[in-house]
Amino acid sequence: MSDFLAQHAEIIITLIKVLLLLFIVLTVNAYLTWFERKVVAHMQSRWGPHRVGPHGLLQPLADGAKFLLKEDPTPSGVDKFTYFLAPLMALALALTSIAILPFGPDPIRIFGHDIFLGIVDLNIGILALFAITALSVYGVALAGWSSNSKYPLLGGLRSSAQMVSYELSLTMSVVGVLLMAGSFSLRDIINAQAAHPERGILGWNVFPQILGFLCFFTSAVAETDRAPFDLPEAESELVAGFHTEYASFKFAMFFIAEYTSMITVSALCSILFFGGWLSPFPAAWTFAHYLPSAILIASGLWVMWDGIRYETIFGRILLPGVGAVITVIGVVLILLPSVNEFIQGPFWLLGKISFFLFVYVWARGTLPRFRYDQLMSFGWKLLLPVSLANVVITAFVILLRGH
């Protein structure tokens, strides 16, 4: 038994990592729906979900159960093979792209094996991600076509046209970053931003590449079919767009795919332009290493304080409990300096990812949807020229500096 474990350690570790990451991503997806509904609700002076569990915190579980148990009718006249393939393809590709992301700088040592945070570390990381995004349009387009219905077909058509148009500016806007790092590997791109640790936040790519960042984020939002670029599922004109004819878990698969690609894009924004797992403070400020604990303790205490005044008894038990756990984790981090050192990278990366997820939701709560011609002229006449100009300027500056 132990021989078997020793021989296949790499494969077993990878399998465990895959399962763990899958579990984390799916849970985060579920709570992302809660987060989005809450934030948009508060932006529109509503409460959002608050019936199931304290502050509606158990709503994702109820939704999940509903998706699993609902009837799943197949409309007549659909193209069976493609109809079933489409949600599978969307979900599989979205989850694959998460596997390429690195989540922390240092390996963690368990049972004599160095385990890196992240499943694979490709030296063509960013290209592999683009390859996966390039294929992910088929999920939406085929769902629209195979449903044998007018509105989904229009949604699928819009989606494929939008993807082809915005993929150009998405790819071109990253070229500046690649030129500065001289590598396709996501790890190398982050390390290139850490070349001057004393500069902290000023060493990040977002300052020299501000044009690239704006183009990248806009195109990425369009590429994930999120508001204000959610024309493929524009509910005011197309019922629900490409997934009109999907119900139950197949619908949930499209949903999970959409939220997973939101996480991927947020992680990519942080890695390419905002220093990934790098702290915004100069390396000499060691007291900044206590920031994660400070934030955890403060938010834990606040959840406890909020929880003891909650209106239901269940909430008065659950919320202080959750708050106590968060506070204890914060205190433990202070007491164990080596663990605290280790979580610095993941803490900053996850913090940045959460920020971009908030921006996604913020944009959805604030911006009206583009009209179709506006969408096209915005992509082709503004984003593409600007990202091309960014490439030329970056290449020119690098050439002048001579490295």
Binding site: A131, A134, E167
Partner: protein
């Protein structure tokens, strides 16, 4: 049989099956899907040779952009199931011998140039992207620029044709 060879035959089988399905499928969308399978299998073969950059570009350009455009057009025209006409008799008679002859020629050409193919594969394995970039922008820069000029001409031609139709 070692692992890379096994993977090679697996990917090759997928590519060939995809190509056969591309011809046999009656619906244009299914044919297009089969073509995507072929493209992705080819990318896998490039990856096997250590040409990571070419593999990724193969998927991005062929599997992504070009095939999305194919599917877009098929969906836009709402092309239905194709109707089988009576097959051409000459193709029936001459097709198989010609196909075998073509395969023989290709196999002979590949067999003769194995040394060179291996050399390219090995040089590509060390620093694929840099090698590709060096070849494209130094050694073959004039053919490369000429090709892009040709594509530009085609794009302008397409725009001119589209505009004329509007008036």
């Amino acid at each position: 049989m070692n692992a890379p060879l096994l993977v090679f035959f697996f990917l090759a089988a997928i590519a060939i099956l995809g190509a056969i399905s591309l011809i046999l499928q009656r619906h244009p969308i299914h044919s297009a899907l089969s073509l995507i399978v072929v493209m992705v299998a080819l990318a896998g073969l490039y990856l096997l040779m250590g040409a990571e950059f070419v593999a990724a570009v193969q998927i991005i350009v062929y599997g992504g952009a070009i095939m999305v455009l194919f599917i877009f057009v098929i969906m836009l025209l709402n092309a239905g199931v194709e109707e089988r006409t009576n097959m051409s008799k000459m193709a029936g008679w001459a097709g198989l011998p010609l196909a075998i002859a073509l395969m023989g020629f290709l196999a002979a050409a590949v067999a003769r140039s194995t040394d060179r193919v291996q050399a390219v594969a090995q040089s590509g394995a060390t620093a694929p992207t840099k090698v590709v970039a060096g070849l494209l922008f130094q050694e073959f820069v004039y053919p490369f620029e000429l090709t892009s000029f040709l594509i530009l001409v085609a794009i302008i031609g397409a725009i001119v044709l589209a505009q004329r139709e509007k008036q």
